[in-house]
């Protein structure tokens, strides 16, 4: 199990030392070996239950403990798979740059470490290394815009993680160990709750919950497309991983209501901001915020609700990286990023646009796609609660409206004759797109056979989807096309670093009060 962390890191160091183009190409074999290892571990986990180990054979109290359960192994598999896609995708663009691949492989190793570790301080170390390396990758283009986003990202996240350190010192004083299982043994009194609240607040910073989401759109729009796909697919989930890990040992009632409210506000504000953007990538970035809110609504609970949230996390990783990669290709062909300037994609790039449409269908929850399954589980949980059911419908509609705006890039004509697509570039997207498409049916099959949760598709779902399409088209032509004043204002609101920190502190204080 521990080799999984070291293999990518050692590969990264070798690539840095060899500096050879061929070595970079062959390094993808290591990714496949890792997938095989993870599949072997997954088989073990399914047969014998979770695997535990302690590095260096110390006692459980002081040693660095590691644990791999079913959730962890599925996360590992998704990470490894998306990394293969990203590596394949970036061969065309950055194939000669050994430094890029050094950081890419290193990042994967640290992320495996985060998923595996079961120790609060060890998780802190891995999270900090992840933010450091992803900051380096965000500023990869080295232009003014990306440098600004990189500084903002790194400083804001580091300040967020200070609250994590403060939280775990409170937990350590109370439990006497950094092992997460120590949380189980103590009763939740005032100070202990404060520690947990601080940990959850810093998880919020990493996963871009409502008041502290501001670093995310900046970082995603500035980074190269490969990195934005990995950022919003995998690295934004860091906070959710912390939440899943501590939720196993503490009573979820202490944070359930607070996190549900935060999730709803994050989801709604995410798509409101997404509607008003003009940059294709920042539409997608704000959608990551919106979808994080939906994931949070799921992960705030337990059992079925948590399962729905977790599934949405995995599905979001797949379809959002698909969208980012395809849109990245379109941007690099057209050399424009404005959504109202790109036209005629469907005629020029038919294969790519098919996969963009697959991603859009998944994110808006077309029946039989993966997004539909996970949203349906969350919806079904709230079927008695009228308010939450209504909010879920609003979220669906909002997502559809903003994608209606983005889908305008398919129509129209362009006079640029140089735009052509090649199979070599498309291969990674084709693999990812097919998996995303199959995922929904696979999930429905597994859920009904192994978890006794039936997700059924009726005629009603198609009708509702169609109606939403019509409503969102009406909304688009009436408000978004002419650009109502309020959207202009929303697009031009910028939070500078000081205001963002005021919001961060408010969020931390609110978390402490309400947990």
């Amino acid at each position: 199990m521990i080799y999984l962390i070291f293999i990518p890191i050692i590969t990264a160091i070798f690539i840095y030392l060899i500096k050879n183009e061929k070595a970079i190409k062959y390094s993808i074999i290591i990714n496949f070996i890792e997938i095989l290892m993870i599949l072997y571990l997954l088989k073990n986990v399914i047969e014998n239950g979770s695997i535990k180990m302690i590095v260096g054979n110390y006692s459980e109290i002081v040693g660095i403990s590691m644990e791999l359960d079913l959730i962890g192994s599925i996360l590992l598999l998704t990470t490894a798979f998306l990394w293969i896609i990203a590596t394949l995708y970036s061969f065309e663009k950055h194939g000669k740059d050994y430094k890029f691949y050094f950081f890419l492989h290193f990042l994967r190793g640290t992320f495996y470490g985060l998923i595996l570790s079961n120790d609060l301080f060890n998780m802190f170390i891995f999270i900090e290394i992840i933010s450091l390396i992803s900051a380096v990758l965000i500023i990869y283009k080295r232009d003014a815009y990306s440098l600004r986003a990189g500084v903002y990202y790194l400083l804001f996240n580091s300040i967020g993680m200070i609250f994590y350190l403060l939280g775990i010192v409170i937990i350590y004083i109370n439990t006497g160990t950094m092992n997460i299982e120590g949380l189980m043994s103590v009763n939740l009194n005032g100070t202990m709750k404060m520690g947990i609240a601080l940990v959850i607040a810093s998880a919020g910073v990493k996963s871009a919950f409502f008041p502290v989401y501001n670093w995310l759109p900046k970082a995603h729009t500035a980074a190269p497309s490969t990195i934005s796909a990995l950022l919003s697919g995998i690295l934004v989930k860091t906070g959710f991983i912390i939440l899943i890990k501590i939720a196993r040992y503490i009573d979820y009632n202490i944070y359930f209501e607070f996190l549900t409210i935060v999730g709803v506000t994050t989801a709604i504000l995410g798509f409101v901001f997404a509607m008003s953007q003009k940059d294709v990538k920042s539409i997608l970035a704000f959608h990551t915020v919106s979808q994080s809110g939906i994931i949070l609504i799921g992960l705030a609970g337990v059992k079925t609700l948590q399962l729905g949230g977790f599934l949405h996390l995995i599905n979001h990783a797949l379809f959002k990286s698909l969208l980012f990669l395809t849109v990245g290709l379109i941007i690099s062909k057209y050399n424009i990023r404005r959504v109202d300037k790109i036209r005629g994609v469907f005629k020029k790039l038919p294969v790519i646009s098919v996969f963009v449409i697959i991603g859009m269908l998944s994110i808006t929850g077309f029946p039989f796609t993966s997004g539909f399954v996970s949203k349906m589980i969350i919806k079904n949980y709230y079927h008695d609660n009228n308010l939450m059911a209504f909010i879920m419908q609003i979220l669906n509609l909002g997502t559809m409206i903003s994608f209606m705006k983005m889908s305008q890039i398919f129509f129209g004509t362009t006079h640029n004759k140089e735009i052509k697509e090649s199979f070599k570039e498309n291969i990674s997207i084709i693999i990812l797109g097919v998996i995303t498409l199959v995922m929904g049916i696979f999930e429905m099959y597994t859920l009904s056979n192994y978890f006794d949760i039936g997700v059924y598709v009726g005629l009603k779902d198609f009708v509702v989807y169609g109606l939403y399409l019509i409503i969102s088209y009406g909304f688009y032509t009436n408000f978004l096309k002419k650009e109502a004043k309020i959207f202009y204002k929303i697009r031009h609101t910028h939070l500078n670093f000081r205001n963002a920190n005021v919001l961060l502190l408010t969020f931390v204080v609110l978390t402490i009060i309400f947990i």
Binding site: I129, L147, L155, V169, R498
Partner: protein
């Protein structure tokens, strides 16, 4: 106890600095102040009641907890590397924008 109060004061100074500082370097310094306060907290509770350092002593009565000290070594390394990276990036930011003030950097939107 007195060192906890001192750490709290330093931490509040750090937060205040983060909230009011107008440019990158000042924000970075405030971040480091907050980190220093946290290191003090960790050091303090690991050696409550004048416990001894567990290195070598003729007679050991009460041992200080060595785990937080090891942790803080790691976190010092991390904060040092963050500082280094932010300083490097701020040189480049200055090169592009001619200023390090957050407000002016954010205002110059080129997209």
């Amino acid at each position: 106890m007195i060192s906890v109060i001192l750490a709290l004061i330093i931490f509040i100074i750090g937060i205040y600095g983060v909230l009011i500082s107008k440019d990158i370097i000042k924000s970075l310094i405030s971040f480091n102040i907050m980190q220093a306060a946290l290191i003090m907290v960790y050091m303090d509770f690991s050696s409550l009641n004048k416990n001894q350092v567990p290195i070598y002593a003729e007679e050991m009565k009460k041992m200080a907890d060595p785990l937080p000290q090891a942790m803080m070594l790691t976190s010092i390394v991390i904060s040092a590397s963050i500082t280094a990276l932010v300083l490097m990036m701020s040189i480049k930011v200055f090169h592009y924008f001619g200023t390090l003030e957050w407000k002016k950097i954010i205002e110059r939107e080129e997209l």
